[in-house]
């Protein structure tokens, strides 16, 4: 089976700083890949480069999604192509209700995919169904997007967006940060419910605990802008015990 996401020798910089230095990663449909690593190893940079954020400059290498050159696309084109980034710090948009935002996003993505826009009634049915699946009450849909949301509510709302937009490739950027155990479980279950043979996940995390809920097929260690170790889910447990120091040292060599 060929790769859905194929990253080859990726080099990227922010301003004057080189962050990614020859990162390669191949993700097949249906797989879950965890990327772990110490602070400053380039985890968030990878998620921004994949989603097309400004000021993250690719200097070398290639990224394809389903064979198409991802790096040539604008951020919204990547969203249409099926890239979804669950933000570490979801943004607040005052005055825009969650419902309005979800509907605008869904219809923008559908339009981008050449599908017709959903009418108000069908949208309402769909969003209610997905929200209930995540244990979200209606009033959270009526509130302003992320304004006054708790950390858990924000992350759950990211998962709701993921469920609605039905991405090919979901990137979770430190989704576990700021979550207590209960919130972690709910988010983890929400993500698990979205796993399918056609959908792949790149789960970026600092700690092993999220991986108790979202079982990865592969665990990669990212240090100094490169993947320096790849293993099974057991590698995450081992890292929890030994820390990253060994790997970082090795990356120096």
């Amino acid at each position: 089976m060929s790769a859905m996401l194929d990253i080859q020798n990726l080099h990227a910089r922010v301003g004057e700083a080189d962050i990614l230095k020859g990162l390669s990663l191949s993700v097949k449909p249906g797989e879950v890949h965890a990327i772990m690593g110490p602070n400053g190893s380039g985890k968030s940079t990878l998620s921004y480069v994949l989603s097309g954020r400004d000021h993250y400059e690719v200097t070398q290498g290639s990224v394809t999604l389903d064979g198409s050159d991802l790096l040539a696309m604008s951020p919204e084109e990547r969203a249409w192509a099926g890239v979804f980034l669950a933000f570490q710090y979801p943004l607040e948009i005052p005055g825009v209700t969650n419902m309005t935002f979800l509907k605008t996003a869904l219809n923008a993505v559908r339009k981008g995919r050449g599908e017709s826009e959903l009418d108000a009634a069908s949208f309402l049915r769909l969003v209610r169904e997905k929200a209930q699946g995540l244990g979200m009450r209606d009033d959270m849909l009526k509130r302003e997007l992320n304004v006054g949301f708790s950390g858990g509510e924000k992350k759950r709302n990211e998962v709701l967006q993921m469920a609605l937009l039905e991405p090919r490739l979901a990137i979770l950027d430190e989704t576990d940060s700021g979550l207590d155990v209960d919130a972690l479980r709910i988010v983890g279950e929400g993500v698990n419910a979205l796993r399918s043979p056609e959908r792949s996940f790149v789960v970026i995390t600092h700690y092993q605990r999220l991986l108790d809920y979202i079982k990865p097929d592969y665990v990669h260690v990212l240090a100094k802008g490169q993947i320096i170790e790849t293993g099974s889910a057991d590698l995450a447990h081992q890292l929890e015990k030994t820390g990253y120091a060994d790997y970082v040292d090795r990356a120096h060599a």
Binding site: D54, S74, P75, E76, A79, P90, I93, V96, T100, A108
Partner: protein
């Protein structure tokens, strides 16, 4: 109802695509023979206008008096706007579409070319279900200077509501016009109001009799068509005791290289227990990206809460005009009267806006509320100028002011100039102000969810304006939201 909605959506989609790439959709010029006065302003021109409209002697005298006062006045220079000196002798003060000479008896008599113009504007004059989808809306359209037709009149007449062109009101209801004209905005109130009083050509007139809740939204569309035609409409709305009316005006103008002057006067009178809600959606041609052309919008709007427990509410969405100078105000004369001002002012490219409100608290227990949202993009300048004044005898006056500015890009400017003048110790005045920018993080978040940059800006700005949009009549809120997005096209990326 669903069909009507679908029509609006399609029309809006077309509108958006037509406007892509800085094209002003309403930039067409209707080819109709106009009956226009020679350029220039003098007493004879005023007599010409008055004669054209077969006005009574008292109104001609009133105009001439205004003209005399105007000649002694200076054009105001205190606003935060800059524009080349206007040559008032080089403007045309009267232009009527020629086929109107004998006056149309019904819409069937109206020049079809005119009706097509309205169709292009997306504002069908003929009674039709699009606007009536939710509630019925009566439209009185001012085409340059003459009102061409009023719809729904019969139904309104049943409830005793008078809704007609100003000229017609002068003919049919002279006692009402004479009693209220200039009673809120006197002839010599300011330079532009004096000019308007001298040369106003037409406008709308509304009278709601005592105890009547006007059965539909009343609506007027202004449009400037002739080159070099200043448009000077006069609007007078009177809500008698216990009456209620909601009134909406929309404005568009064709695209032209030269600037066109628009100096209107709107007077509102609310008697005891009456309420007037006055909404404006203004998208006059703003000029091109380099600031060529566009409308000078110098307008005087004032409402008089003349008797106890009356209420006047202004809501405005200002997206057009090259230069805007406009301060819809409330005189809270009656005890327990209420004044409100909800405003969205958007400026892009080279537009200049100096707008705000005045709340004059005169009666006891009066309250006012000001919510102003200014959005500046491109190289535009956007100033809020407001005055809250509490008279010595105005016991227990209350005011709440919230004034938010949003900046887009790094070359636009926002200014806030609030004046507060309190002469009574019992007053409670609150003022809140914020200035913010659309962050790159917010934009990226929206783009990651599939919106392009312009859709993202439109969404964020609509959120910023939400508190004001909520106060628009429902039929127009959707269109206003689209307009917000259209006005900001080209402001990012």
């Amino acid at each position: 109802m669903r069909e009507a909605k679908a029509t609006i959506d399609d029309a809006t989609v077309n509108q958006v695509s037509d406007l892509a790439g800085q094209n002003y959709k309403y930039g067409f010029v209707t080819d109709i023979d106009a009956d226009r006065a020679p350029n220039g302003l003098n007493a004879d021109i005023i007599r010409f206008i008055s004669a054209k409209k077969e006005e009574p002697a008292w109104l001609l005298d009133w105009r001439l008096e205004a003209y005399e006062r105007w000649q002694t006045m200076e054009e105001p220079e205190w606003a935060h706007v800059a524009y080349p000196k206007i040559d008032y002798q080089d403007l045309c003060y009267y232009s009527a579409p020629k086929s109107m000479e004998d006056g149309p008896k019904s819409l069937d008599d109206v020049d079809p070319e005119l009706l097509r113009t309205y169709e292009k504007l997306g504002i069908p004059l003929v009674e039709q279900e699009v606007l009536a989808g939710v509630r019925k809306v009566a439209v009185d359209a001012v085409f340059d200077s003459v009102s061409v037709g009023t719809t729904f009149r019969e139904e309104l007449a049943k409830s005793g509501v008078i809704f007609c062109s100003f000229s017609e009101a002068v003919r049919e209801h002279p006692e009402l016009v004479r009693k209220y004209l200039g009673s809120v905005v006197p002839q010599s109130d300011n330079y532009f109001a004096a000019l308007n009083s001298a040369v106003f050509s037409d406008g709308s007139f509304v009278y709601i009799p005592p105890g009547v809740h006007c059965p539909m939204e009343l609506s007027t569309y202004f449009r400037i068509n002739e080159a070099n035609t200043g448009q000077f409409e006069r609007t007078l709305v009177i809500a008698d005791r216990g009456a209620y009316v909601s009134y909406l005006e929309g404005c568009t103008a064709p695209m032209r290289d030269e600037n066109q002057l628009h100096a209107a006067v709107v007077e509102l009178v609310a008697l005891e227990d009456a309420e007037i809600k006055y909404s404006t959606v203004q998208n006059w041609y703003p000029g091109d990206a380099e600031g060529r052309g566009g409308i000078y919008n110098f307008v005087t709007k004032r409402g008089d809460c003349r008797e106890d427990r009356s209420k006047i509410s202004w809501t405005q969405v200002e997206t057009g005009s090259a230069v805007t100078w406009k301060y819809p105000s409330c005189v809270l004369r009656g005890n327990d009267s209420v004044g409100e001002f909800y405003s969205i002012a958007i400026s892009n490219n080279m537009q200049q806006v100096d707008s705000g409100t005045k709340m004059l608290h005169l009666g006891r227990n009066t309250s006012s509320r000001i919510i102003s949202k200014g959005i500046s993009a491109g190289r535009s300048s956007n100033a809020y100028r407001g005055k809250v004044s509490v008279h010595r005898k105005a016991q227990n006056a209350r005011n709440f002011t919230q004034c938010d500015s949003l900046l887009i890009g790094d070359r636009s400017a926002a200014h806030t100039v609030p004046y507060i003048e309190v002469k009574n110790q019992s007053a409670q005045i609150e003022h809140e102000a914020t200035t913010s920018k659309i962050s790159d993080d917010q934009l990226f978040y929206c783009q990651q969810r599939g919106l392009n940059a312009e859709e993202a800006v439109a969404l964020i700005v609509n959120g910023f304006c939400r508190e004001v949009l909520q106060h628009l009549p429902m039929e127009f809120a959707v269109e206003a939201q689209k307009l917000v997005g259209i006005s900001l096209e080209g402001s990012v990326g």
